[in-house]
């Protein structure tokens, strides 16, 4: 693949060949791994397909469904917090409690809650197993026995969740984002692995979908539509690949390393045993799952961490480049922090499949992936410009990588259409297919630049919540 000009030394040609090979092989390895994931995801869906109707779920599982505490940390959410709590209280589950943790909000989050739900100060005997910032007070109303508000000093999301775990009195807790919209039967769906295998299951996650473009009424997604914003459309495709393909497959392989902070169900005791959520990371959701794997493997105890395909939660995704860029670099930093902290597990046979496959995947996709790809963007044109690379070969390999990526995206769309069919309008299919093509030219490269920013932040050890600007969900017209 090298066209050697007369001035080029052998080592130059060798280096150019190596660089091109590393870029191409990494790309192909990634795509190859995605194809394997696709196979596993298809098998998981056909072997245990989603339960289509909420009434069926209730009939099957409500009798033995264990009580759940829902932990919803909130920070400066005065615009949406009351609606969010109302929607949580309307969840369809036989026995649950909502703990809303006000993490030292500087706005009127607490006041709005107190006024809307008639809350007064109460006492609560709480565990002290996990460390967190000081709890100022508890608020409740006997007329709303399922709601308890914890008001605490600001300490970050992980800190707020730890306070919630200490106050939780059920063997299972569900960690969510206060501003996410849960499906009414989300708890019944995600509790299924804990009912099916109560002794082994220690955590379970479900699919998160993007609500941009959808109509929301009374805290429920009532009409699913695609957004008009290009960035939101691309993220829909990304989420489909991430959840319906990657996480479902990794769950099937029992090597799932992330359960989204927006929705995850955990065995409280196991989480306490690993010290709860870590404070010193921005990827606390990923780190918790990795800690659980590590703990159970170190203890040589059998366990399962499951993923269910059904959509359980809707979230608003960023629609402008600056906010999306910040989010993506934060995710990248979180993955790197987690990888660095638990690097002893990477490709370590002692940790079995989680060390070999789970961490192998993080290494390939999150650690090396963006570096190699950006290196490719910089060096390959340079080498071509110097006449050290042959254009026909370069384009041919690039074309294989891109079309493989498109093929994987289309296959994910097929899975979605066959098993879930959550897009009621047929027009969504060609639009998303077109996005799967377009995203390769511009968005993919930009995304990798954001990830390199995450790398840079990781190296500089930046911390913090990060600013997530939300525009609020569109609601159905009233009256």
């Amino acid at each position: 693949m090298i066209a050697s000009p007369h001035w080029a030394q052998d080592w130059m040609i060798g280096a150019a060949e190596t660089i091109a090979l590393v870029v191409i092989v990494t790309g192909l390895l990634q795509v190859g791994f995605y194809v394997v994931q696709l196979g596993y995801a298809a098998f998981a869906l056909s072997n245990r397909p989603p339960v289509p109707r909420g009434a069926t779920l209730w009939r099957r599982y409500s009798g033995e469904a264990p009580p759940i505490t829902v932990l919803a940390p909130a920070f400066n959410e005065e615009l949406t917090v009351v609606e969010s709590v109302r929607s949580l209280l309307a969840l369809e589950y036989p026995d649950f409690e909502i703990l809303l943790i006000n993490d030292g909000s500087k706005d009127g989050t607490l006041d709005r809650l107190v006024a809307a739900f008639g809350l007064t100060r109460v006492e609560r005997f709480v565990d002290d197993a996990l460390s967190h910032a000081r709890i100022r007070a508890f608020y409740a109303n006997p007329a709303q026995p399922r709601l308890l508000v914890i008001d605490k000093d600001n300490g970050g999301k992980a800190d707020a969740l730890n306070a919630g775990i200490n106050a939780c009195r059920t063997s299972l807790f569900c960690a969510i984002d206060a501003d996410s919209i849960l499906e009414p039967d989300a708890l019944l769906r995600v509790v299924r692995p804990f009912i099916d295998d109560p002794d082994l299951t220690i955590a379970a996650g479900g699919t998160i979908r993007i609500a941009n473009g959808c109509t929301i009424d009374s805290g429920r997604v009532v009409d699913i539509r695609l957004p008009r914003n290009f960035l939101a459309l691309v993220q829909i495709m990304e989420y489909l690949r991430a959840f319906l393909m990657a996480r479902l497959a990794l769950g099937k392989m029992q090597v799932l390393t992330v359960i989204s902070g927006a929705f995850g169900l955990f065995n409280r005791q196991r989480v306490v045993e690993v010290g709860g959520y870590s404070h010193a990371t921005v990827g606390e959701d990923m780190e918790l799952v990795v800690k659980l794997h590590r703990h159970m493997r170190d203890q040589k105890k059998p366990y399962r961490i499951e993923f269910i395909a059904e959509p359980v939660c809707w979230t608003e995704c960023p629609e402008d480049l600056a906010v999306l860029g910040r989010q993506r670099s934060r995710w990248q930093r979180g993955a790197l922090e987690c990888f660095a902290k638990h690097r002893a597990m990477c490709l370590n046979p002692r940790y079995g499949r989680i060390g070999m496959i789970g961490f192998g995947q993080i290494l390939l996709v999150d650690v090396i992936g963006p570096l190699v790809e950006v290196l490719g963007y910089l060096l390959v044109p340079l080498l071509y410009g110097l006449g050290l690379l042959a254009l026909p070969w370069l384009l041919a390999f690039l074309s294989v990588t891109v079309t493989f990526g498109i093929f994987v995206s289309v296959a994910t769309l097929i899975l979605e259409e066959i098993q879930l069919r959550r897009f009621p309008r047929a027009g969504a299919i060609p639009i998303l297919a077109a996005i799967a093509v377009i995203e390769n030219f511009g968005y993919r490269q930009l995304s990798n630049v954001w990830r390199i920013q995450g790398w840079w932040q990781f190296l500089r050890k930046q911390q913090g919540w990060g600013t997530m600007t939300r525009k609020g969900f569109a609601t159905a017209p009233t009256g």
Partner: protein, 344 residues
Amino acid sequence: MTGKLVFLWEFSLLLSAVALLAISALLLARVARDRLERRREDIRLRLLPSMLRGQPAEVERSRLFRRVAADLTVELAELVRGNDREGFIAAATQAGAGKELARRLRSRASQDRLIAAEALAMFPQYEGTVSKVALGDKNADVRLGAALALAHEGRAPPVGELVRRLGIGSTERSLLVVSLMRDLARSDPHAVAALLYDFEIPDAAKLAATDALADSAAVDHAPLIAWMAEASEEEGDLRPRILRALGKVGHPSAHEAILAGLDSESWPVRTTAAEAAGRAALVTAVPRLSELLDDGQWWVRFRAGEALMRLGSAGRAALRKAASDGRPAARAAATTIMAEQGAT
């Protein structure tokens, strides 16, 4: 070299063509499905009133008609109860739903097989088919779902046979097994109780039977509690569950086992024993529960405090004493639990 280059381009083209064809096929399938949905909706609207009233409908001899009838049966089965059920089943049978559901018992999709088994269990004439096909299904969810549906209708095979066929307590560890045992205990409590004395039945299956029998008034609790008390002497993963069931039964002969649980070295056992002591109104446990307010484990302190609150004046007096002159952990537990429950 050129050959390899051409291969790479051809491979890319092939992938693109496959993706394009797949998307086209998806779109065509969606359009066809939308058309079919309209026809299904027409049939559904015609069938719905007669099935709800339990009256014979005007039957079409088409596969689509039988499919709609089967889907409606599944949908309405969760709504139709009591006396209306018989007429509903007759109307569904006449519309061909039974035949269609029996066919679905052999569907490739396990969810379809499970839903078909659950609905078909309502049809008396298909009891044998469900037992034979669905209880022997390769998918564990389908087997358990069929067993639950049959037991709910009082048409399940003998309980011992079910335990063996489903692998209850060995391969089948679902919590739904307790629901199954509860339904089985409703129709034949003595057969469920007999599981406790069968040496070949795994302990986890016996425990599920125990949970179910604890809710049943149809059996003599004394032998049941004797078995539970004996089983609770062994430290193990099952002990907390046994103690919880003993607390639920609340029988005096369970008291000794609960008191012994309060002294266990395992904190989950102490926790459930404290909970059981409160539920069983075990006043003799008050001194030990007071000591447990100072336990190293928060769960034990919490359940001990809760139990003392349940145990009337003696329990509250113990809490007040701990709040005033107990050790720091006991004082904090007693004070907060009393304040939380408005007892200060």
